[in-house]
């Protein structure tokens, strides 16, 4: 029984090391710097702790002078000044290391791309800024960046305070309504990195995840080119009907599908929703079934979110899900 609970506790602790969303699985420039700093601090502190323990234990086991002779003033002075000197040395050393790490976090090289991140209850909007406005595009909850390139994120919030945190790539940075914060990302290896809002922002704070997908430059370019395009025209009969449902119902008032007359801006841009991995900020993997489930009853899957329950017939629901899936 005891060993079972110990095992369970161990499993719980070790589950933090799976790497899905862990600072120990550092793959970004800033995250690697931070990980090295914290490992260095842990090592130094471990040595200090060990030395203090040795000193304490040796003081306990040491045979006292049976004559009760007082310690000489000189000996005490040496011990105390030695300890103070060591403390000052260690703290100064850690401060300097910390300073240099912090300085290394900010990228010296100019950013290759700029992305506006707008956090809102409870999802992320990403606007890929371009000098040519026709090449700018908007997506949600999934950020693609080229490996080894510096991406500059301009962080904003449209309601409460949120915090952008992708532990494998960089430290946290708050998104505050009415001001703009900056964060640079540079992934050293391709991969899919999970991120999460790290500042309690209301009821569905825990369901406010995002994915950063770092890929080779060519793959990134291909993805971006596709995202710039308008929403795919459905071919399947069910999806064609779904498009008509989307335009006739309340959907189009809040969501944009570029290339159609749906141009609402309060909900996520759905132009290429079928190409994303998850729906509702990491809540469900995107399949035709999960899309239908989400549209049918968003308030049961993610209570309190701002997508209303739009009454639909079974047929309309199937058609709408088919259309959403076809928007790749």
């Amino acid at each position: 029984m005891k060993s079972t609970s110990a095992l369970l506790l161990l499993a719980l602790l070790v589950s933090g090391c799976t790497g899905a969303q862990s600072i120990l699985n550092a793959e970004g420039h800033a995250a690697i710097e931070l990980k090295e700093l914290i490992l260095w601090i842990i090592c130094v502190c471990a040595v200090v702790w060990l030395l203090v323990m040795i000193a304490l234990v040796s003081a306990l086991v040491r045979q006292r002078d049976p004559d009760g002779g007082a310690i000489s003033e000189r000996k005490a002075a040496v011990a105390i000044s030695g300890a103070v000197g060591a403390t000052v040395l260690v703290i100064t050393g850690l401060t300097i290391t910390s300073f240099y790490t912090t300085r290394a976090l900010s990228e010296a090289s100019p950013a290759e791309l700029t992305i506006d991140v707008t956090a809102q209850q409870w999802w992320w909007q990403f606007t890929y800024v371009d000098a040519n406005p026709t090449r700018a595009f908007v997506t949600a909850n999934e950020l693609h960046i080229p490996v080894g390139k510096v991406a500059r994120l301009r962080l904003k919030s449209s309601d409460v305070i949120h915090s952008f945190w992708v532990p494998s790539l960089a430290g946290k940075r708050d998104l505050i309504a009415g001001r703009e914060n900056m964060l640079t990302l540079r992934a050293e290896r391709p991969g899919i990195y999970r991120g999460q809002c790290a500042e309690f922002c209301g009821l569905q704070h825990s369901h406010m995840a995002l994915f950063v997908i770092a890929e080779a430059q060519a793959d990134y370019e291909r993805w971006a080119e596709r995202q710039r395009g308008v929403g795919a025209e459905p071919t399947e009969a069910e999806a064609v009907a779904g498009k008509a449902v989307f335009m006739a119902k309340q959907c189009a008032a809040c969501h944009t599908i570029r290339g159609t007359k749906a141009s609402g801006t309060t909900g996520p841009d759905l132009t290429h929703v079928g190409s994303r991995r998850t729906i509702a900020a990491g809540l469900l993997e995107i399949t035709r079934g999960s899309l239908a489930a989400w549209i049918a009853d968003p308030q049961t899957l993610k209570p309190g979110n701002n997508m209303p329950l739009v009454p639909l017939t079974g047929d309309e629901l199937r058609q709408l899900a088919a259309y959403m899936e076809s928007l790749r």
């Binding site: 309601d159 119902k249 008032a253 809040c254 009853d297 049961t300 209303p308 329950l309 009454p311």
Partner: protein
């Protein structure tokens, strides 16, 4: 004079006060735990029933559907629904015509003059079906639940009496008194009769 007895009495007083104080603290903590329940999901049959607005033949004034009373007038009394209404007020662009509630291209919502009556059902009908002279219909843009949330909120903007339920605070600068502080009564003198504005047309 017996100092010992005096001391005993004051100790008894003190402990009684402490006991009473901690009881009060405990009681208020208990009350503080009580939270207004939030209704996030309106069952489709309830929403359908809420959509049965009973208007007067003239379209001015009317009675809310029976279910509105069965639900205990949720959209006027629940802080959550009022907050959502406030969100919808900005999301659906009400401010582009009605401003912060004092009007602009559209009529004011807090000068005490309601072209179609001050009842919440008339406001809901105005939002759902639109009105002549520029008010668009929102029934194909908002769900029934949202229309009621917005109607409940609009009613608080023009309130002449203070309300216990309040929506969340403004993120931007306040340009008129907060919704639960009877903005209409604060902004306009109650003893002066409200003057209909020319663009509102003749009184019905």
């Amino acid at each position: 004079m017996m100092p010992g007895k005096v001391l005993n009495v004051s100790v008894a007083h003190l402990s009684a006060t402490v006991l009473l104080f901690s009881l009060l603290v405990g009681l208020s903590a208990l009350i503080g735990l009580e939270r207004q329940p939030r209704q996030f999901r309106t069952d489709p049959p309830v929403a359908a029933a809420l959509n049965q607005l009973r208007l007067m033949p003239s379209g001015i004034g009317g009675a809310p559907p029976e279910i509105y009373f069965a639900l205990d007038r949720p959209y006027e009394a629940s802080a959550y629904d009022l907050s959502q209404g406030k969100r919808l007020y900005s999301w659906f662009g009400c401010a582009s015509c009605h401003g912060d509630g004092r009007g602009g291209a559209g009529p004011s919502l807090l000068d005490g003059w309601w072209s179609y009556g001050p009842s919440v059902v008339a406001i809901a009908a105005s939002i759902r079906d639109g009105r002549p002279r520029g008010m668009p219909a929102f029934h194909n843009r908002m769900t029934t639940d949202q229309i009621w949330q917005l109607a409940g909120y609009v009613k608080t903007i023009g309130a002449y009496s203070a309300s216990l339920a309040a929506p969340s605070r403004n993120d931007d600068k306040h340009t008129r008194p907060a919704e639960n502080r009877a903005p209409a009564a604060i902004l306009f003198h109650e003893d002066l009769p409200a003057q209909p504005r020319s663009e509102q047309g003749p009184p019905p």
